[in-house]
């Protein structure tokens, strides 16, 4: 995460994504979380430092809580940048608050002069469970007719990679490859957690993990995701394995340390880490997992095609699952004199925001309200209508939002958004 934050900074994204834009899309219920001008850099600095501390195990408990808060704040500032792997980091860091990751090999051990040789098994299993959930749900999401029967959207994405050396002009253009990769991806997601759990298959599985994620990194612009998944899957390895790694790291440190004068460190070694309030902790962690397991199914509460209306789409490990392009413009109508005009949205949104807004109804609604406020006056409350077309997974474009509904009268809520027009097609699957 240290590296990730640094990378974010060096790419200039803090400025571009959080400080420059006039407007940010907020999460329902979290509208009060906004960038704080130039001080937004502070949040990133806090995040960076706390991730550094977590890494070396300094003041672990406070650091991980601080990291969780700052990182989650960053993510909540603008819905435009929602990524499944950022959500993963948020919940993982939340889970880590309850896990004694600093029990051994941490700076805290030096400070407290105390270390442990073992921790309760459930704390490691919890981490494994989280990763299993991510993969399983990602795999389940791929069990749909577009992905498996039409090989969409991989067909479009792979065909466009024609300039990749060796495979671009040939393999990636072939239909059987599209199907192989669609089915392969689905099978990989569903099986890999179990292959990692079983001793015999673990090494093969880990190689598969590396291969899969590096391959997707080459194909798609997915940032830190592959790195995060590769390293976090190492939790499945036995403690012996990790001990070996730590031993190697210790050797390097002592070699370096020999050059520097150092005090002998006295440490008391306890056997088992005991949670101060284990029962409470267990309740918190269990509730956390219950939510994680149920949350991806909330889309069932809404009618229509999930991939089209996207109600309940997020926070459910639907990773790189659909190709959606939209073209959405807004008409501002003056009730006083009946005149109207089309807005140039690029005056208010960055290209990235425009792109995300164009095919996500909650964004469209929020932006419509923003425009309503911008263009209304005391005596003239304008009406806002959306002229919106969207294409999903290779289908022809279709009108997305009812053009006759004044979006000002619609409010964001958990209720179904009836002003989204139906897809008119059925995607079978879970």
């Amino acid at each position: 995460m240290c590296y990730s934050i640094a990378r974010f900074y060096f790419k200039g994204w803090i400025e571009e994504l959080y400080i420059k834009p006039d407007f940010h899309f907020s999460y329902y219920g979290f509208e009060w979380i906004k960038p704080i001008g130039e001080f937004t850099y502070l949040i990133f600095i806090v995040c960076f430092i706390s991730s550094l501390f977590v890494m070396i195990g300094l003041k672990y408990k406070s650091s991980i809580i601080l990291f969780f808060l700052s990182f989650t704040y960053i993510e909540l500032m603008d819905k435009t940048t929602y990524l499944n792997h950022y959500y993963f980091i948020s919940i993982l860091s939340f889970l880590l608050i309850f896990i004694p990751a600093n029990a051994t090999f941490s700076v805290d051990n030096i400070i407290n002069q105390k270390k442990f040789t073992s921790i309760p098994r459930w704390s490691v299993d919890a981490l494994k469970l989280l990763i299993t959930i991510v993969y399983l749900y990602a795999g389940i999401a791929k069990v749909n007719s577009d992905w498996l029967i039409e090989a969409m959207p991989l067909k479009i994405w792979l065909q466009s990679k024609y300039d990749l050396p060796l495979i671009g002009g040939s393999l990636l253009q072939m239909e059987w490859v599209h199907y192989a990769m669609s089915w392969g991806g689905m099978l990989y997601d569903l099986s890999i957690p179990f292959l990692l759990m079983i001793n015999k298959t673990r090494i093969m599985a880990f190689i598969l993990v590396i291969f899969f994620h590096v391959f997707t990194l080459v194909l798609f612009p997915i940032g830190m995701f592959p790195h995060i998944m590769i390293f976090s899957s190492m939790i499945f390895f036995s403690s012996n394995f990790h001990e070996k790694i730590l031993y190697q790291i210790r050797r390097v440190i002592t070699k370096v340390g020999k050059k520097v004068k150092s005090k002998k460190i006295h440490m008391k070694t306890s056997n088992l880490y005991i949670f101060p309030r284990q029962n409470l902790t267990l309740i918190a962690v269990t509730s956390f997992f219950i939510i994680q397991i149920l949350l991806p199914f909330r889309y069932q509460l809404y009618p229509g095609e999930l991939f089209w209306h996207e109600q309940g789409y997020r926070f459910s490990w639907r990773v790189m699952l659909i190709e959606k392009i939209g073209y959405t413009n807004f008409k501002i109508k003056s009730p006083n004199d009946g005149t109207s005009f089309m807005v140039d949205s690029s005056q208010h949104l960055t290209p990235f925001q425009l792109k995300q807004m164009s095919f996500q109804p909650d964004f469209i609604l929020e932006f419509a309200h923003y425009l309503g406020e911008k263009y209304s006056t005391e005596n003239n409350k304008v009406e806002v209508y959306a002229d919106s077309f969207v294409a999903l997974n290779g289908r022809p474009s279709k009108r997305f939002i009812d053009p006759d509904i004044n979006l000002i009268n619609e409010q964001e809520s958990f209720k179904d958004k009836t002003w989204i027009l139906p897809l008119g097609d059925e995607i079978k699957g879970i």
């Binding site: 994204w13 990679k161 300039d163 002009g169 590096v214 089309m342 792109k355 290779g394």
Partner: protein
């Protein structure tokens, strides 16, 4: 086990480390980006810029002649106006290419920003002191300003001639010289740029293929749809703005006839019609100058990438909607847009709507198949 691992690692590092352009296996004309670029260059960019350049030279020679002699008279003014219209019509075939040198020097902004900032023109003429390279002067130069100088500075030929010869001749000359200079820069640069252009087939935001497709869409949406029809028709404002049409001064001046063998029908629809022809020819793969078709075009590529056939194929769908819009443009509305907007704006807007329908197909459906991003969005996805 180890061998297996080793092989995987070797194959993998090979894939991820190779960076040079290995010749790709030809799987058919559909994926032939090289042909696409060479077709675009040989059938559109090169001939159209040449045609425009010649017309502009012709225009310039008339201005130079007048400047070095006694100025214009009725007959040479009429010739100048014809040359101007000819040049403007040739311009319609190059405005969509905003790439390379043209992009670098904001060529389109120096050539066709309208409405004219007449106050700026007047103050430039008064002071005699101006820098046409200053962006503040974009709306005071180029073809629209020529329109103003040839038709806007008087209400009849006598007035125009008098004002032109006594007051505006120098400015006219400066504007034409600037246009020539910029055009030469663009045309000459293509001689060397074309090598880079023709080999830039990658699927990146700055590759020629992506830039051309984006330019084409941007031109259709903004330069053609919004500038020529949308903005004057009042789509983006509470009421129509007929003064913002292309060739405004010429249209108003020649509303009831220009006389002297200069047909007012030479205006208006023909400019948009030329632009529409340029759009259709580019999309469908036709060389405008020779009228002959070539094989690899956006339409043919969509023909391959879209599994639908016949009239459902995206390439054909876009073509037919373009034809509908083109017919409306030619048949349904007055060649004088000013008159049309003022008398029956709704009819004008119906033509706009027909043009607008194609925008969705280009920006959503076509881009989906080509997997080209509309704008360079530097961010991670997932």
């Amino acid at each position: 086990m180890k061998k297996y691992l080793l092989t995987l690692v070797v194959v993998f590092s090979f894939i991820t480390s190779c960076n040079d352009n290995i010749d790709t296996i030809d799987t058919g004309p559909a994926y032939d980006r090289e042909s696409l670029l060479s077709n675009w260059y040989n059938n559109h960019i090169y001939p159209n810029y040449n045609n425009f350049s010649s017309a502009l030279s012709n225009l310039k020679s008339k201005v130079d002649l007048a400047k070095s002699s006694e100025g214009f008279d009725k007959s040479s003014l009429s010739e100048l106006r014809k040359s101007f219209i000819e040049t403007y019509s040739k311009w319609q075939h190059v405005e969509m290419f905003n790439i390379g040198k043209a992009e670098e020097i904001y060529y389109n902004s120096t050539m066709n920003i309208y409405p004219v900032n007449t106050a700026r023109v007047e103050s430039n003429v008064e002071s005699g002191n101006y820098d046409l390279q200053n962006p503040n002067n974009y709306a005071a130069q180029g073809l629209p300003t020529l329109d103003y100088l040839l038709f806007g500075i008087g209400s009849n030929d006598t007035e125009v001639l008098e004002n032109l010869n006594s007051k505006y001749l120098n400015y006219l000359s400066s504007v034409v010289d600037e246009m020539s200079k910029n055009t030469s820069a663009v045309v000459n640069d293509w001689e060397t740029y074309k090598n880079e252009f023709l080999s830039s087939t990658e699927n990146t935001a700055t590759s020629a293929v992506n830039l051309m497709v984006n330019d084409f869409i941007y031109y259709y949406e903004k330069g053609f749809r919004a500038n020529k029809l949308g903005i004057p028709g009042g789509v983006f404002s509470s009421s129509p703005i007929p003064e913002n049409i292309e060739l405004y001064y010429g249209m108003v001046y020649c509303n009831d006839g220009c006389g002297d063998g200069f047909d007012r029908e030479d205006f208006g629809t023909q400019m948009s019609s030329y632009a529409m022809t340029a759009v259709r020819d580019f999309f469908e793969g036709t060389n405008t100058s020779t009228g002959s078709s070539y094989n690899v075009s956006l339409k043919s590529i969509l023909g391959e990438l879209d599994s639908n056939t016949g009239q459902d194929n995206l390439g054909n769908r876009i073509s037919s909607k373009l034809k509908i819009a083109s017919d409306k443009l030619t048949n349904d509305i007055d060649s004088n847009y000013y008159r049309q907007i003022v008398s029956d704006n709704n009819k004008f807007l119906q033509t706009y709507d027909a043009i607008q329908e194609v925008v969705v197909l280009l920006k959503v459906d076509m881009l989906q198949f080509l997997s080209i991003n509309v704008d360079y969005v530097d961010a991670d996805g997932d």
